[in-house]
């Protein structure tokens, strides 16, 4: 061996090909990973396709007056007033954000700017536990606690109302708002805070005039994510808003109501087939498509804002 090493190297093309086994392993790994990515895309496409197909049937065959100007959501009787569901969804979302926005943002400001490191270390996991509570549990909480001791204290609402469902959805969204907002606040460089303090700004002044404006796009992103979370929430509304599948058109949040999601869930429960008029089945896909477009638009908006965060400073 030793005399071989004294010779000048005689390299051939084959010396540069590499171990064929390693080359093959690399190719297999790449194929598997591509497959994993491809499957998730294919599933998404399949969902959109199944949604679009039935929704298309509905859209082309339905009598549009029953969708736009009738008096409520009674799909088994061929009355598909989408306004009922959209108004219900909007109320739940608005009430939820009225709860989750201030509380979530306040918690984020506290955690990011005021809490000592060890307090933050304890509080943040607690907040994330709240995010892990199944929404069905919050549905019961809405009926057993929020409705009697909050909503009924201020209004003459019944035990089931859009308002108590909205508050519960808000509670569910607090951790999301708090967590994403806190990330946005903490990504503001501390040099900017020091600049504020160095100019004689109080802590709260620095927070409101330096930190919040610098983080504003991230905060908006948090808000939009929470909105699309609230729009998509099903179980809480299903339990706490009280409309068991049908709902007359109603604009008051203290009345029972239906959201897009709850309307779908109530029709699909308890049986393997949806009964009723000819288009009842397809109507649920139509509602699903509306919901899909709504959340898609919101997520695209959120994505744009998140992108802007990176350019801010």
């Amino acid at each position: 061996m030793s005399d071989v090493s004294l010779q000048p190297p005689q390299l051939q093309l084959s010396d540069h090909r590499g171990d064929p086994r390693r080359v093959r392993t690399e190719a297999i790994v790449k194929a598997l990973l591509t497959g994993a990515a491809g499957i998730s895309i294919a599933i998404s496409a399949a969902i959109v396709w199944s949604l679009a197909r039935e929704a298309f049937t509905f859209v082309t065959q339905v009598e549009w007056s029953t969708v736009l100007v009738s008096d409520g959501w009674f799909p088994r009787q061929g009355v598909y007033d989408i306004r009922t569901l959209i108004v219900g969804t909007l109320w739940v979302t608005v009430i939820a954000m009225a709860v989750a926005g201030p509380i979530g943002l306040g918690a984020a400001i506290y955690l990011s700017e005021y809490a000592r490191p060890n307090v933050r270390k304890t509080l943040k996991p607690v907040l994330e536990v709240l995010a892990g509570i199944p929404s069905v549990v919050l549905g019961f909480f809405a009926v057993s606690v929020i409705a009697p001791s909050v909503v009924q204290r201020f209004t003459d609402a019944g035990l089931f109302s859009v308002a108590s469902a909205g508050i519960a959805v808000g509670i569910l969204s607090i951790p999301l708002v708090a967590s994403v907002s806190e990330d946005a606040l903490r990504s503001v460089p501390s040099a900017l805070r020091e600049a504020g303090y160095g100019l004689g700004a109080k802590k709260i002044t620095t927070v409101t005039t330096v930190v919040l404006p610098a983080a504003v796009s991230g905060l908006v992103a948090a808000f939009i994510l929470a909105v699309s979370r609230a729009i998509g929430e099903t179980m809480v509304v299903f339990i706490a808003a009280g409309a068991a599948g049908n709902q007359a058109f109603e604009v008051s949040p203290t009345e029972p109501g239906l959201t897009l999601t709850a309307a779908m869930a109530t029709q699909a429960q308890g049986t393997d087939q949806v009964v009723g008029e000819a288009l009842t089945f397809q109507s649920l896909y139509f509602v699903g498509a509306v919901l899909f477009i709504l959340t898609l638009v919101l997520n695209l908006l959120a994505d744009r804002f998140v992108r802007r965060v990176r350019q801010a400073y």
């Binding site: 100019l199 004689g200 002044t205 005039t209």
Partner: protein, 292 residues
């Protein structure tokens, strides 16, 4: 170089007329009649149980530029940040001793650090303009202080004072982040002087800048020192020699029990004396480049 600009200075009236103030001997020896702004005595700073700096005693005079020099980790910046209580922002920092400011101990219980920082402004190592417009950057301090009057004039005066007006007057609405590094640092100086402070603390203000931008900042310091008292931390000994009237040299000592270093002030004197004939051997070794 920058030091040529010192010839156009008018020296403060408190200077003894017998003292030579030509550029060569610009650093004044201690004269009676000088006005002391800061009187630091037996200052020690701890981070948790770690003593970062010990037993600093120094006086800082009005309308002078005082430079803090010394090797890394010797506590220059820590001491500087005691002068406007910026160390309060570090949870674990604790200060012992006295930081007298016109006779008042800044660490007195009744002193509000927010008020302190309105009088004692700060310019940081890395330019840190707000992601706001140039105008809003400068107007920030006066606005939060509730200053009445014409904000446009305040902004223009501060930008002129920082030698930035001509470069930015046509684009005051542009983002402060759009400026070059040197311009950003002058914007930060404008922002600091807009609140009309008495003292400007500068923490290595040129360390992130190129030599031309550095020279501009140094010139600027000479131009504004008649109105402000300036304390500058610098790693650059030439800079200290060029710009300062007095120099304080800090060094570190290794603690025998633990493998930590504590900073201490070796001596403070006129810059000329410090660089030509310092009293302490450690200063001489440092300024002649034999260590650090």
């Amino acid at each position: 170089m920058a030091s040529t600009s010192t010839t156009k200075l008018t020296e403060p009236a408190t200077v003894d007329p017998n003292v030579d103030v030509t550029p060569e001997t610009r650093g004044r020896p201690e004269v009676s009649g000088r006005e002391v702004v800061f009187e630091v005595s037996d200052l020690s700073v701890y981070y948790g149980s770690f003593r970062a700096v010990r037993d600093v005693n120094i006086e800082i005079n009005r309308h002078e530029i005082t430079a803090f020099i010394g090797p890394s980790g010797c506590g220059k910046t820590t001491v500087l940040r005691c002068l406007n209580r910026m160390n309060d922002l570090i949870e674990i920092a604790r200060v012992e001793g006295r930081v007298g400011y016109h006779g008042v101990d800044l660490y007195d219980r009744e002193v509000n650090p927010v008020e302190v920082r309105r009088r004692i402004g700060m310019v940081f190592q890395k330019p840190n303009p707000f992601p706001k417009s140039i105008y809003d950057n400068v107007a920030y301090g006066p606005k939060i202080a509730g200053t009445k009057g014409n904000m446009d004039d305040v902004v223009e005066k501060a930008l002129r004072g920082a030698g930035l007006w001509d470069e930015v007057k046509s684009r005051l609405k542009a983002s402060g982040m759009s400026l070059s590094g040197g311009q950003q640092q002058r914007l930060c100086i404008a922002r600091a002087i807009a609140t009309d402070p008495e003292v400007l603390l500068m923490d290595e203000p040129c360390s992130a800048l190129d030599p031309i931008a550095t020279a501009r900042i140094e010139d600027l310091m000479q131009e504004i020192k008649d109105e402000y008292t300036i304390v500058i931390v610098t790693h650059n000994m030439q800079q200290a020699a060029r710009v300062s009237d007095r120099t304080a040299f800090f060094t570190t000592e290794v603690n025998p029990e633990s493998d930590t270093r504590t900073g201490l002030l070796v001596e403070a004197d006129s810059t000329d004396k410090m660089f030509s004939n310092p009293s302490d051997e450690r200063t001489e070794n440092y300024v002649t480049g034999r260590f650090g």
